[in-house]
């Protein structure tokens, strides 16, 4: 368990990449100072028999705090990813924002994914939200690329790259 405290006006950008080695990843992050912010970028690349259980807890403890958690996972072969996020905004943390997005792309027949993006909001003058998708590559996208002459494998590669680019260009 990694514990991090973010202080007043501090902006932490935390990139984490998992390539299959670790079986557990956990973070406990507190936005303790006024105006502190967190951008947590998690890239998960699982293949063969890789398995991981992830727990990311983010606690907004002050006013004007912001968090953005972007999780993108590519699950191939018989790998499986279990992502658990808990974003909490404490009472009194007015003007805070929290956003969590978790996308798991299942590339092969035996791939598995689980995502539990939980929220606990005790203050109303905030904006909080999350979005999760788990599943295969979008058929329409595949068809479109293949209709331009790309093989299924090439098209898949392109789409996966695009999926990852989304991660690298998070700001946009």
């Amino acid at each position: 368990m990694k514990n991090i405290i973010i202080k007043k006006n501090e902006n932490l950008v935390l990139p984490v990449i998992w390539r299959g080695k670790k079986k557990e990843i956990s973070y406990n992050i507190k936005l303790a100072g006024v105006g502190s912010s967190l951008t947590f970028l998690m890239l998960l690349l699982g293949k063969k028999e890789d398995k991981v259980k992830i727990q990311v807890n983010v606690d907004h403890q002050n006013i004007e705090t912001k968090s953005k958690i972007i999780v993108k996972g590519i699950v191939d072969d018989s790998a499986s990813i279990d992502f658990n996020g808990l974003v909490k905004i404490e009472k009194g943390s007015k003007g805070s924002n929290a956003w969590l997005s978790a996308n798991l792309l299942l590339l092969s027949d035996s791939a598995k994914g689980r995502a539990v993006p939980a929220l606990e909001i005790l203050e109303n003058d905030v904006k909080a939200g999350h979005a999760t998708t788990i599943g295969k590559i979008n058929d329409a996208e595949l068809f479109y690329l293949m209709s331009r002459g790309l093989s299924k494998a090439k098209a898949t590669d392109l789409i996966v790259q695009g999926f990852l680019n989304g991660f690298l260009n998070y700001e946009k």
Binding site: A115, A118, L119, N124, G129, H130, T132, T133, G135, K136
Partner: protein, 467 residues
């Protein structure tokens, strides 16, 4: 032992649509074999039901309380009464009805006749004439619509075929409790190919009483049939009971469609812990419309098991958590077959320190190829005292699927408030409009009378909150 029985009961239960409950009966506090035996014999049930109840009691004693959700530690089973016959249950003097309940009825426009029924002053909604016309209609179709107490005696084979098969006795502590002490509830059977055009409403049941504590409901829709069942009411129903634990099992067979609309607005300190499940076969459609307005603690997660290929499940859930209320609601969708789809939409409003939590599960099992699920939960926090949580579990074991989930939590938008106020509406009116607009996707699926009452209720509570 102080069981009161003021008249002898024959071995043959004479059921009829005009038989009023003559005797009043109440079990002593607490739950044990003697209480369960008393219920069984007072209701004069067949022997197989006795076994069912006693077995359930054993399981109830072994089961642990749920490890998640609201704090249930205040529930003291030894101090509760587990069976209270209708004529005992809610008879009150008109003068005893709390003034704020009467005020609410007046303001939301509850008809005179209904007020007495809802307030528990009368044991039965006097709807004899309407009732018998409708009864003829569905009898002609071959539809069985009766209360569970009657069904157990009149249609035992049918009941035995389904009871406890979808929500097993040992599913959780409260399904075990219900199985041991249940009373009342509906039994509906729709034959193959029959479409019931008018919704079946709970208060048209035989000897309808206001909803009981441990109702047991079974709905069976045979192949290609359709039925819409409605229970509950948006107007507050006052009750002295502290624990309600109903169990609902719905069987949607191949190509059939069932919509189950339920609105609860228990006034008073009620713990409402319900287990509801739908089993949907090939190309069947199952719909839950779930309105949660009352209770001190409400735990309810209507579930849809998509067992046959092409099965579709939809859940529309509304939760309103006001002062001292904890709404822990949501739903479950379990995809077990290919090409199944599920849609879960949840809207919650928290105000005055209320807490609304969405608790959901979407599980797509291996082999459920071509399936898709979409979940959307939105929460509106009206002040800084209230709380909203989301606990969504998304578990995908099959690659060839799409699962999407979105959630948002916010307060009433400043721009929207300004816009509406700039047209002359004051802050309360503007907020009411916005809140009613927020829940519109759910309300539009409710029968008109419920929708109207619900909108008025929201307006009333906005006045209370901000004034």
């Amino acid at each position: 032992m102080d069981m009161k029985k003021s008249s002898t009961i024959n071995n043959q239960y004479t059921y009829g649509f005009h038989k009023p409950e003559k005797s009043s009966f109440k079990t002593p506090l607490g739950i044990n074999e003697k209480v369960v035996e008393a219920i069984f014999s007072y209701k004069n049930e067949p022997l197989w039901m006795r076994e069912f109840r006693l077995k359930a009691l054993k399981i109830f004693k072994q089961k642990k309380m749920p490890s998640f959700g609201p704090d249930l530690s205040e529930l003291n089973f030894d101090k509760l009464c587990f069976y209270n016959s209708p004529s005992n249950n809610k008879f009150r003097k008109w003068s005893d009805v709390p003034k704020d309940i009467l005020d609410t009825y007046n303001k939301i426009g509850v008809p005179e006749a209904e007020k007495k029924f809802l307030a528990g002053v009368e044991a039965q909604y006097d709807s004899e004439v309407i009732y018998s016309n409708l009864k003829n209609h569905w009898e002609k179709l071959g539809v069985i619509f009766t209360d569970m107490d009657t069904a157990v005696k009149k249609y035992p084979e049918l009941v035995k075929e389904y009871l406890g098969t979808l929500v097993s006795v040992d599913d959780n502590k409260f399904s075990a409790l219900n199985s041991a002490v249940w009373s009342g509830g509906s039994f509906i059977y729709v034959p193959k190919g029959v479409s019931v055009p008018i919704p079946l409403q709970a208060y048209f049941r035989i000897n309808a009483k206001a909803v009981g504590q441990f109702e047991r409901t079974i709905i069976v829709a045979e192949e290609g049939s359709f039925v819409h069942y409605i229970e509950g009411c948006s107007a507050p129903i006052y009750t002295n009971d502290s624990l309600h634990a109903a169990v609902v099992e719905v069987f949607v067979k191949k190509g059939a469609r069932v919509r189950y609309t339920s609105i609860q607005n228990w006034s008073g300190s009620v713990y409402n812990l319900v287990t509801k499940r739908m089993l949907i076969e090939e190309n069947g459609i199952g719909e839950w419309v779930d309105g949660n307005l009352g209770s001190k603690v409400n735990m309810k997660y209507p579930a849809m098991i998509l067992k046959g290929k092409g099965a579709r499940g939809e859940l529309l859930s509304l939760a309103y958590a006001g002062k001292n209320q904890y709404q822990d609601t949501g739903g479950k969708a379990i995809h077990l077959a290919p090409n199944t789809t599920s849609t879960l939409i949840s809207k919650s409003v928290s105000k005055n320190g209320g807490r609304a939590s969405y608790r959901g599960l979407v599980k797509i099992a291996k082999g459920a190829k071509g399936s898709s699920s979409h979940v959307r939960c939105d929460a509106l926090l009206l002040d800084d005292k209230s709380r909203s949580d989301t606990y969504p579990v998304n578990d995908v074991q099959e690659q060839d699927v799409i699962l999407g989930h979105e959630a948002s939590v916010s307060k009433v938008g400043e721009q929207q408030l300004f816009y509406l106020m700039s047209r002359g509406l004051d802050e309360i009116q503007a907020t009411s409009l916005i809140v009613n607009g927020f829940i519109e996707p759910i309300v539009k699926e409710l029968p008109l009378e419920y929708a109207v009452e619900l909108n008025r209720l929201i307006n009333l509570s906005m006045e209370g909150a901000i004034a």
